[in-house]
Symmetry: C5
Subunit: 305 residues, 5 copies
């Protein structure tokens, strides 16, 4: 399902684009203010010998654009990695359930137990990453004893993985799995462990904070001084050109910071709810259960959360 | 088979290049219009003290070019990843069939059954990604019962993978496969699962929409204001230079957006039909079936779909 | 063996560098012509109010350089990937032969049969990628029945892989390989399948053609108009500077296009003949066969093909 | 746990950002000094025909910015790789313990022994990378005989891995593990070996030192000469603009050098203590031991070490 | 062990940085000469209407900087890949020895035999990559029969790998290894084969030579013409600014070429001797042999070879 809002280019020009615009509105207003100050006062302060030209700002602006490009790369690659990890969750959980259904076709209770634990694993990871309470999403899929154990644990998602390990360990001791087929399933648990650990890593290690500080500082200062450099040439056009350039730089800076932390709930973050819902629908469908929970729909701004 | 049209450089200058040109024609016309307005009116509005110079636009243009480079990287790497996933489909399906022919050389019925399910898997994935009806491409390769099950499922391609799992599970229970050789084949199914899940991920998660909006907005505004910045220096040459610069920026922006979604049917998208046809021909050829379906030919614009 | 010609920097300045220079000579001559036209006519057309300055060309030139950087990245990474795939061919074929020699040290006939099929696999892939006739390189290594089968197949290289699969399947049925050791060897065949499929993918899917067209068009137009922008400042120096800048841009564009398709036979393409020769020498040496075919030598331009 | 200090943009402008600022303070002061010299003396030395303009510095500044972008990429990718290696440590250690608990649910002594060795492995690696004394962190988790052996070894962390290998080798000889399940666990030890070797590689092979030297030299010289190029246009504003541009270049250079060596103890280095603490807490929690050691808290500057 | 010489920034400015400076000294002297020619003669040749301005050189310089950025990326990623391959050598050899010690704890003769072959493998690879005579480093670790066989082979390192394969094949036939544990060890040999083949690939396939030629040619020409473009504005300052800019461009070009071929013996190449020494020390230490060979020390320029 591709969500691509506003194909019409004219509408796009004025479209709402998540939380980026709201974050930079204040800065842009400040920029307009500085421009007006520049237009009004430049003749006065030039008489005092204070003088700014555009040449050093060109050099600086291009340098900052290069660094912004680097920073967006860093932020976007975190976004992509996070999405890949969640994609691998779906892939691995489907594969694990497929394997169990191939190996033990006559054990529907096992199919359902494993599916429930896998579904609980995804929801629990979402809540762990967003620091929200998982109870409402877990109690359908865990026994009350399991739920209590998970809620009590400081590492709830890893605890569910441990339960999955115990489950397939039990199948092996019951003789339903040989060492070889146990290995096959256990490898999928290790893949889930990779996805879990990868998400935890992204959440706990931001891009070194000095990048954010240095870049933001230089972008803000650049945008604030820009009107004074433009005004000699552009006079009354200063506010328009200055706001345009500032918009370009500020929105890229803001977007990079937003993407860097992909597990939030704003418009440019990953729709973890929708992904968990997709995983749940897939696993239930593989077990021929019906009705499936309905797929999540984007809101009026074409956003999923 | 390499399709490289128009080796002659002169023809290339005027060659049709897919849907990009048609998308940006309107914008380029608008740019010509703005240029003419600029040429006609600039003496008048300069008297009013309204004044634009090229220096701030140089800075801005280079910054936008850097961001366009970033965006094209993001879009192109999605295109490459999608192609790699489809390439891994072909590789894995050939490997799986090769393994079955090595392990069970005297079971031609198994060879054909597996080949049919694999062919159906590819076609089904193509239809799922393009949201088209798979029936016409599936009914040759599935029994009517299987077809009904696949069509009824909200996750048809994953359902075919489940059938493949059941098929090799059956071979194991029949004693034709040991646990070790079952593992060998099942690993290939997990690879197919990766390709499937990867394509679903690309289709359901575009590049964060804010990138498209911010970049398009700045590119459009940049191209619209450019003539007014060029006109003081270039006079009558303004429309030519302005359209040339705009063409460069608009076509890169447009191409990035097109590549970002590689499963469409325009000229720069992946030729999924041709790839599915190649997969089908390969698997049938490995089973020594003849005649093979003919390879797909590019159309008069050298395009495959 | 490293081939690094012309260590002397002075010789390098005038060295022949493959097919790039010959491809762009015509364009460079055109550029000289345009420069001369510009020098001769600029006073006349400036009187008509036709006027070009260097500022918009600086902006455009830098933007084009950024896009050329992107394009060279895309082309070069295809070259590197192709080389890696051929490198993995050598690695995997050596590993497979080593495994067979470890597992079945007393079966020299098997060693030789497998080595021959592996050698045939490499040569066949080379001919498939260059669309040349493989017979001369295959008939040493295949029985006449096998050769006929391979030549008749529309997918000859994959057919040889199938034969390798049958060979190790036969060893398993003869009890020379257990399921475990069969798995070990079969995994190497899957790696060969990856290298084969990867090369086929690179050959059949060029960089989206719109990139080539858009970039070439803008580069050519840029180089053609450049003299008219330079002439006001540079007068008689226009042709020299203009040709210098054009050389830089045209050669990068040309090189990117050449590298993008790494299986050709020009100087900057992969020396597939030499690589196949290396593979053959390695495998024969591992079987202590002598004399080995001689290593291929670069020609007088330090090039291998 | 995400640590994102100073969400307020105004505070951010003046926030402390690790050791970068302190490192470049001296250079920035020097730059102010050069600016003042330039402002005071430029009229005098211009009379002598000594003259600098901003155009060549623009070209040079942009080139240096491009190279700084490259260098930050190189440094940052080392930081990311180091973090990934430590992330894989946590993932692998959890997986290994999960497997042992699945395979041998009734052997709590084995669970604890393995957990202790794994915890010791992480702490030992931290101390090896920072060249500090590991005794205080190891003696809880190793027997005194083991501790003596580890401390005496020139490769202490690898020695602990060897002990883990002996431990699972013993389980295999005791018949608690089959060859298959031994393989499963041993593969995890090989993954630990990868993380260990990867960290050792990063620590022992810096980015080629010539990059650091060349870039630092050009950045320092650029910043020192810049005031003399700006002063003709900017007069009294020279110090402000010059310091601003210098800050941008010097802080990026300094940050790249800091990230390049990610195992230090300054603010932008990896918080290895906190990661080891997380690993310890995770493994103990999986064994249901309590109380867990408390999680580490960032200091008043929001930094972990 | 991190080797980071000259932490003091002032010393750094004048530090020796490997072979880069010596390579470009001649070119820089030429540049000074051209600058002096320019300063002396520009008034004369300007009267003849010969005239160069800095604007086209800004455009060209930035384009060249972008291409240098690309080239350094290509060269540096080869350096990193080579280092990773050597890192994986150490990791894999340690893992293989650990596995043998876990599986066969009571066979010290096997431990030592395998360690010796692994050590010989590393030294042989080093000599193969640098085209030096391996005898002195091999005769400690190989029997005289083995040594003769290795020296006689045109692929000596691969020959040692074959011996390792025969060794573990022998253990399997003696019943010391099952098929499963044989597989475990053989997979490590395949990893060694990857490292070997990867190094051979890097050594035999340079970056396409046209990149080196085109870039060097444009950089040299750019640096030679630059003084003539600067002289109109800068007069007596031309030599200083011109040499500064040339130093930046020439050193990056030179460094990229040096890194591209990481197996040499200059300061910015990989210290293969030290890495082989580390491998030898590690494997001997794992076998509790003493005394270990001393670790290699960097020379007075902080360089290892």
């Amino acid at each position: 399902m591709i969500i691509r809002p506003h194909q019409n280019w004219f509408i796009r020009l004025f479209a709402w684009h998540g939380s980026v615009l709201s974050k930079i509105t204040f800065r842009l207003s400040l920029n307009v203010l500085m421009s007006i100050v520049a237009v009004i006062s430049y003749q006065w302060y030039e008489q005092l010998g204070v003088h700014l030209t555009i040449a050093p700002f060109s050099l600086l602006g291009i340098a900052i654009a290069i660094f912004l490009g680097f920073r967006n790369n860093a932020g976007y690659s975190r976004f992509v990695e996070a999405r890949n990890l969640w994609g691998s969750l779906l892939i691995t959980e489907r594969s694990l359930l497929r394997q169990i259904k191939s190996l033990l076709p006559d054990e529907p209770a096992v199919h359902q137990k494993v599916a429930k634990l896998l579904i609980a694993f995804s929801w629990s990871l979402k809540h762990q990453l967003r620091a929200t309470d998982p109870t409402a999403d877990l109690y359908h899929n865990l026994t009350s004893k399991e739920l209590a154990e998970v809620i009590a644990s400081p590492m709830p998602t890893n605890r569910i993985l441990l339960m999955l390990g115990q489950e397939i360990g039990k199948l092996r001791r019951q003789g339903l799995l040989s060492d070889i087929t146990f290995e096959l399933l256990d490898n999928k648990l290790s893949e889930l462990s990779h996805a879990l650990g990868g998400c935890e890593r992204l959440a706990s290690t931001p891009v070194p904070f000095a990048y954010t500080l240095i870049l933001q500082r230089t972008v803000y200062l650049f945008c604030s001084l820009l009107p004074f450099a433009l005004v000699t040439d552009l006079h009354y056009m200063t506010p328009f050109v200055s706001v345009f350039i500032s918009y370009t730089f500020l929105s890229w800076d803001s977007l990079a910071e937003e993407l860097e932390d992909p597990f939030g709930v704003s418009a440019n973050h990953l729709p973890l709810n929708a992904i968990c819902n997709t995983i749940e629908r897939n696993l239930l469908e593989m077990n021929d259960q019906s009705p499936l929970p309905p797929p999540m729909k984007p809101d009026e701004h074409f956003n999923l959360i």
